[in-house]
């Protein structure tokens, strides 16, 4: 039972009005003229109390009517959902063994909370079911609201990566407790480059995740580096471009855990069946390869010379400018080239798992979100009809009674 506009409850003072009217009213009612009143007993003196008692019914109905109107205006509504005394303690995977939360979990379990996982379907922790895949906090909060749970306490990491979709407001029956994450250091890869070990590590905390690369020569377990076969095809006119390109590739190789095998061939010597991971074609002639990933100079049309590398097909990149130092610096040639050449997503999985960034509490939940709006309009909206019907019937009863009592 709640009120949307409790200010209207002041209207309850208006109940004094009918009471006062009924107390003060000395109205005689309708006058009926009889031949003689010899058989009528005056009830003002003899049974005054009984008359007042009879009109108390009318008074009650009138007060009731006023009460209903006030309740209607103040937006009284009842939640009819059958929320029994089910209480859930919902913990995100991993937090059920968290040292910080253990006392809380134990005390809540003693209070009769069921321990469940924050996961689609809210499986019981004791069932030990497999939880794979990602979760979405907002979606789960909404699902939790729909569950017939009287009270739910959620222990969560509030990881940024698990918030997606449209922001919702925190349901009334849910208490959401977020853990402050500790700094997480993680190794992404250790790659044996032959002479040195190339080592990439990440560090993530509540605010940020950053990565660092170390090159060391101590002998630790490392995987061999991947080899990238690049065929650089050029003719004489593009000698300078080739030099720039080779320099860029060299820079990339020094910073990336890959071993580049670069074959420098002239256009006339190029064999299309030659095996390569990438072909870089620096010539006015049309490239003769189509089934290999290729970066080719655009010799036909100048479409957009501001974009140095333009992707025309999934494995076909067009070079829109002749290369020199200025172009290379301005267009961030090395970075663009490394983005194109190096396989993406190689380390992203371990990054995602170890990402410790959280969404701050005040940003996590909508204050005037869609859910609460829906609650404010939809639930009383349905009950408004009942109130109106109730008021209407009370009014009819009041009128009938007043008519019958001649008041």
């Amino acid at each position: 039972m709640s009120f949307l506009n409790p200010i209207w409850l002041w209207g309850l003072t208006g109940l004094l009005l009918p009471v006062a009217i009924h107390l003060l009213s000395r109205k005689e009612g309708n006058v009926i003229r009889l031949g003689s009143v010899r058989h009528v007993v005056d009830s003002t003196s003899a049974s005054f109390s009984s008359i007042r008692l009879n009109e108390i019914w009318l008074l009650l109905v009138r007060c009731l009517l006023l009460l209903f109107i006030i309740f209607f205006l103040s937006g009284l509504y009842f939640s009819f959902e059958s929320r029994d005394d089910k209480k859930w303690l919902v913990v995100e995977k991993g937090l059920e063994r968290d040292n910080d939360f253990m006392p809380l979990i134990d005390s809540l379990r003693d209070q009769g909370y069921e321990l469940r996982h924050l996961y689609a379907g809210f499986p019981l922790v004791d069932d030990g079911s497999e939880l794979n895949g990602s979760i979405n906090y907002w979606l789960l909060a909404q699902t939790l609201q729909a569950e017939a749970v009287a009270q739910a306490v959620v222990l969560s990491n509030n990881y940024l990566r698990n918030f997606s979709g449209q922001r919702v407001s925190l349901p009334d029956n849910v208490q959401w407790i977020a853990k402050n994450p500790t700094q997480q250091e993680f190794a992404m890869a250790a790659i044996d480059m032959g002479n040195v070990i190339w080592k990439r590590t990440g560090s993530s905390n509540a605010l940020k995740t950053h990565f660092s690369t170390k090159v060391s020569d101590n002998g630790q377990t490392a995987v061999p580096a991947d080899t990238l076969l690049i065929t650089l095809v050029s003719d004489n006119e593009y000698e300078y471009d080739k030099e720039i390109m080779l320099a860029a590739l060299q820079v990339i190789q020094q910073n990336a855990p890959f071993i580049f095998v670069i074959s420098d061939v002239s256009v006339s010597d190029y064999n299309p069946v030659r095996k390569a991971d990438w072909v870089i074609w620096l010539s006015d002639r049309k490239p003769e390869v189509r089934d290999l990933p290729i970066i080719a100079y655009n010799n036909t049309e100048i479409t957009n010379d501001r974009i140095v590398f333009e992707q025309v097909m999934p494995t076909y990149w067009r070079l829109n400018a002749r290369l020199n130092e200025g172009i290379a610096l301005n267009s961030h040639l090395v970075i663009r080239l490394s983005e194109i050449l190096l396989p993406v997503g190689k380390f992203s999985e371990s990054v995602e798992v170890n990402d410790r960034r959280v969404l701050p509490e005040q940003a996590a939940w909508s204050v005037t979100g869609q859910v609460s709006e829906r609650k404010a309009t939809s639930i009383p909206g349905n009950q408004n009809v009942y109130w109106m019907v109730l008021i209407f019937f009370t009014l009819i009863v009041e009128r009938l009674l007043a008519l019958k009592r001649n008041q």
């Binding site: 309708n30 009889l34 031949g35 009143v37 009528v40 009984s50 019958k404 001649n406």
Partner: protein, 291 residues
């Protein structure tokens, strides 16, 4: 049919009386024919101014003198209609007052009396007026009777003290029909009724009572006003109804017993009963009593 605009005209009242009487008389035997002098009484000498039609020409042929043939007029009884015209008779139910209701009954019974060649007269009494239409047997009597009846208004209380001697003037065989609501002060009406009754006459009291007045079936709390004394009484009809009905029933029973003791015929008439039915019942009962 019982609407004030009809009831308040002579023709309207006559019409209603005729409809009522013809309505319930149809099919019954026609009453014996009216005629002056079927039963011979005496001869007397002709005097100027006598009706020539009454001259006995055969007698003149025999004797050569003018004789008027006289016969007993065959009136059965004199019917005296007495009407309580006090203001309590202004009590109204369904748009008809007790007075109007009584007027209709009187008109109907007078019509019947005329048909049966009875003499009939009208006496209406209230505090201010006593109007009298002396009983006669004349052609115009009925119209005169109705004319007076229509004019009667309910005013004041029942006549107090003297002044009613006129009504006690009893001659020969008579029947007195008294229409009243029996509301009086200090038993005035009962004293009057008891004085009406003589060993030779027949007195019938029509006690007119409204249905709501009898049953007190008003729902809720009302202020009741006495039509004569204007006294106001506030009462809850729903609560009092049972006791009220008992009181009225006791009053009716008492009145009936009192009149029975004095050999006065008491007829309780409830206003929402059909008039034809009431009259038919009344005549039926009278027939039984007279046998």
């Amino acid at each position: 049919m019982l609407k004030p605009e009809i009831l308040n005209t002579v023709n309207g009242l006559e019409l209603i009386a005729r409809i009522i009487v013809e309505g319930f008389m149809s099919g019954s035997n026609k009453s014996q024919s009216v005629g002056a002098g079927q039963e011979f009484s005496q001869y007397r000498n002709y005097e100027p101014g006598d009706d020539l039609r009454q001259l006995d020409w055969k007698m003149y042929a025999r004797s050569g003198r003018y004789f008027i043939k006289q016969a007993d007029i065959e009136t059965n009884i004199t019917v005296k209609f007495m009407l309580d015209a006090s203001h309590s008779m202004a009590y109204m139910e369904d748009g008809v007052t007790k007075l109007q209701f009584a007027k209709v009954m009187i008109a109907a019974l007078a019509y019947l009396a005329r048909k049966q060649s009875d003499t009939f007269g009208l006496y209406t009494v209230n505090e201010r007026n006593i109007s009298v239409v002396q009983p006669r047997f004349e052609q115009q009597q009925f119209m005169r009777f109705l004319n007076e009846l229509v004019k009667v208004k309910s005013e004041g209380t029942w006549k107090k003290g003297n002044g009613l001697e006129l009504l006690y003037d009893h001659h020969g065989k008579e029947m007195i029909l008294f229409f009243t609501d029996l509301y009086d002060e200090q038993e005035d009406l009962f004293r009057f009724i008891s004085r009406l009754k003589t060993p030779r006459n027949e007195v019938i009291v029509f006690h007119i009572l409204g249905k709501h007045e009898r049953d007190f079936d008003f729902e809720g709390s009302f202020t009741f006003e006495d039509l004569e004394s204007n006294v106001r009484v506030k009462a809850d009809a729903t609560i009092q109804q049972k006791e009220y009905k008992e009181r009225v029933a006791g009053w009716v029973k008492q009145s009936r017993a009192w009149m029975l003791e004095k050999h006065i015929n008491y007829q309780l008439v409830v206003m929402n009963d059909p008039i034809e039915q009431t009259l038919r019942d009344f005549l039926k009962i009278r027939k039984i009593i007279n046998r």
